[in-house]
């Protein structure tokens, strides 16, 4: 079982004009076998939520708690969070020159499991994961994210999701910049992951398109650093039809 519990999370970043509050009290619980979609306009704080949970040093947590199966996530270092079972598929994965995908994946797997994977099964697993995501076998020899197309970067993120197999996956705009074929391939990967028992998914997106392939159990509308509305998959359909205007206007109205 796995439960990611976010309570009243408040986050700010430092700017030249002093700290700027981005998340203004976010409460959200992701339980076993649940997929939560977070939707919202640009600048609403969706990515900040993802990076704050993963522990990016740019964000200052000013209030609230995040726990994974009762453990205090905010007290953990970035790598401890990953080893505890959190995974963040990034919108803009970072290039690591000179480090091959094969070396990177093996190093990560070893870190997560606390021991090196058995060579024989590991190579098979890597090749299978690459194959399912339509990545060429020579892909493993390339340097991490260096010269990858937008689609390759995202497929590589999902290959990592499948190989590292965390408890809870946070997908930050994994659909952005993908054509429809790549979107299907990536969605199938996410679905293979969440078909397993006890996995949670927090799927952050701007568009409803990906939700046709990865059906969420819950949809949360994010506006100005807070959850403005929530409901089931039908909420995504309403957003598809009406957009975010209603929420943005409501938010802009004087309190």
């Amino acid at each position: 079982m796995s439960t990611l519990e976010i309570k009243d999370l408040q986050v700010s970043v430092s700017t030249d004009d002093g700290p700027k509050e981005i998340l203004k009290g976010v409460t959200l619980t992701i339980k076993d076998n649940e997929t939560h979609a977070i939707m919202g306009p640009n600048g609403s704080g969706k990515s900040t939520l993802a990076y704050s949970i993963a522990g990016h040093p740019k964000y200052d947590i000013t209030g609230g708690t995040v726990t994974l199966d009762g453990e205090d996530v905010l007290a953990m270092s970035v790598d401890e969070r990953a080893r505890a079972g959190l995974f963040l598929a990034m919108q803009y994965p970072v290039e690591v020159p000179g480090v091959s995908v094969a070396n990177f994946l093996r190093t990560a797997k070893t870190a997560i499991d606390g021991e090196a994977p058995k060579l024989r099964t590991w190579v098979k697993d890597v090749n299978a994961a690459m194959g399912q995501l339509n990545l060429d076998p020579t892909f493993s020899q390339r340097n991490v994210n260096e010269g990858f197309s937008g689609g390759e970067k995202k497929r590589h993120e999902i290959a990592q999701l499948e190989l590292l197999n965390p408890k809870v996956a946070i997908l930050d705009e994994t659909d952005s910049g993908l054509d429809i074929d790549a979107l299907k391939i990536v969605s199938e990967g996410v679905n293979r992951y969440r078909e397993q028992e006890g996995k949670g998914v927090l799927l952050i997106t701007h568009y409803t398109r990906i939700l046709r392939y990865i059906e969420p159990d819950f949809v949360h509308v994010f506006v100005d650093g807070k959850i403005a509305d929530q409901g089931g998959p039908e909420l995504a359909e309403a957003l598809e039809a009406n957009g975010y205007d209603r929420y943005i206007k409501a938010n802009a109205a004087p309190a």
């Binding site: 522990g55 690591v96 070396n103 990177f104």
Partner: protein
């Protein structure tokens, strides 16, 4: 005489001088080669070519005392390769490249004779020629003169390894015949107190391909010049370097690609890391594109990774261009700390900070190590980089 006349006269004599050398012009950044010690006075430290070097730490090498001390030589010479000793006069006769700074001029003057490594024309030597040079003590002052001669259409790899300690000043000429392919690697793995002033000059024959790699880990002060010039059109040179400066070390690499022939190429890539208080690296990348050098292509790049506070990396690319009729000329220089986004990405996959740093640094040098092109050295270089890291970056764990 008016100032204008004086200027005109100096320009005229400059042109005559150039004609005499078969060159149309001179570099403003690099003194012309000369055996005459009077042309290479004891530097004050203000000269363009000396301004980065800590003269006081050279342990008097530049005074030019005579000495017959030498390093011990241990060589692996594949079949077909010969090693002999020749006189200084003979070295000049076979076309050794004249010294272009005081230490190399002193080495040519005081060496007592040159060693000649000869690879005959058309010989294809697959195994590397290893020259292991070892010094016993920094008290020993060693002058050395070396000529590597590779005949037409021959192929050879030469690896020079420096260990132990000495006050070592060496002038080396690499004479590459037409159509030859030569790979020279100079590895400086000195003890902490060694001082090494070296000059490698390479003459690239028509359509020949040369790779020269300087790898510097050890020594108190190491200052190396790698110069390239061309005997005819069509030659290409790749100059690579890897250095890792620890606390207190001064590691200086000076490159000079003199495009004195048309249709020639030079490509420079030096990468370095620094860690510890007063670790200092200097990279000077000089390129001269002479008027005759139409259709040439040159690119130079220097990257430094600063791993701790208190280090200094100087990086100066200089491009002198006397013709615009070229294929391309460019340079890049970047000095940075660890990239926080890279470290975050790796750590978000469960990799500890220490391991993430190791991986990033390994990656930083990895492409260069692969380019060196001597498989038997690659593993050793990777291991040495990791040893260096273990000394500081990985210990801190911050």
């Amino acid at each position: 005489m008016t100032v204008t006349d004086a200027a005109r006269e100096s320009v005229t004599s400059g042109l005559e001088q150039d004609k005499k050398d078969g060159h149309l012009s001179v570099s403003h950044l690099n003194p012309p080669p000369s055996y005459d010690l009077a042309d290479h006075p004891v530097p004050t430290g203000r000269e363009e070519i000396w301004r980065f070097t800590p003269l006081k730490r050279l342990r008097g090498i530049l005074d030019g005392e005579a000495s017959d001390a030498s390093l011990t030589w241990d060589t692996t010479l594949p079949d077909g390769v010969t090693l002999s000793t020749i006189s200084q006069a003979e070295a000049r006769e076979i076309g050794e490249l004249a010294p272009n700074d005081r230490p190399s001029a002193l080495a040519a003057e005081l060496s007592g004779g040159a060693r000649l490594i000869d690879v005959p024309a058309e010989a294809e030597i697959t195994e590397p020629i290893f020259i292991r040079l070892h010094g016993e003590s920094v008290d020993d002052l060693v002058w050395s003169q070396l000529v590597l001669r590779v005949g037409k259409f021959a192929k050879a790899t030469v690896v020079l390894m420096h260990t132990g300690s000495a006050r070592y000043s060496a002038t080396t000429s690499v004479l590459v015949g037409d159509g030859a392919t030569v790979n020279v690697v100079s590895l400086q793995d000195w003890d902490d107190d060694a001082v090494h002033l070296g000059r490698d000059s390479i003459l690239v024959g028509r359509d020949a391909e040369v790779k020269h790699t300087a790898i510097t880990f050890g020594g108190d002060v190491v200052r190396l010049n790698a110069n390239v010039e061309y005997a005819a059109p069509g030659g290409s040179a790749e100059l690579l370097g890897l250095y890792f400066a620890d606390e207190g070390q001064h590691l200086e690499h000076r490159l000079f690609a003199d495009h004195n022939q048309p249709k020639t190429k030079s490509n420079v890539l030096y990468k370095g890391a620094l860690q510890g208080e007063k670790a200092h690296t200097v990279w000077i990348g000089n390129v001269l594109i002479r008027k005759v050098a139409e259709g040439i292509e040159t690119y130079e790049e220097n990257r430094n990774l600063v791993l701790t506070d208190g280090c200094q990396a100087d990086s100066v690319p200089n491009l002198e261009i006397e013709t615009g009729e070229i294929e391309g000329a460019g340079h890049a220089s970047a000095t940075a700390r660890f990239d926080d986004e890279q470290l975050f990405y790796l750590r978000s996959r469960g990799v500890s900070e220490k391991e993430a740093r190791r991986l990033v640094l390994h990656g930083f040098f990895n492409d260069l190590i692969r380019k060196v092109g001597v498989p038997s050295l690659e593993e050793q270089l990777t291991a040495t980089v990791e040893d260096e890291l273990a000394r500081n970056v990985l210990r801190a764990g911050q």
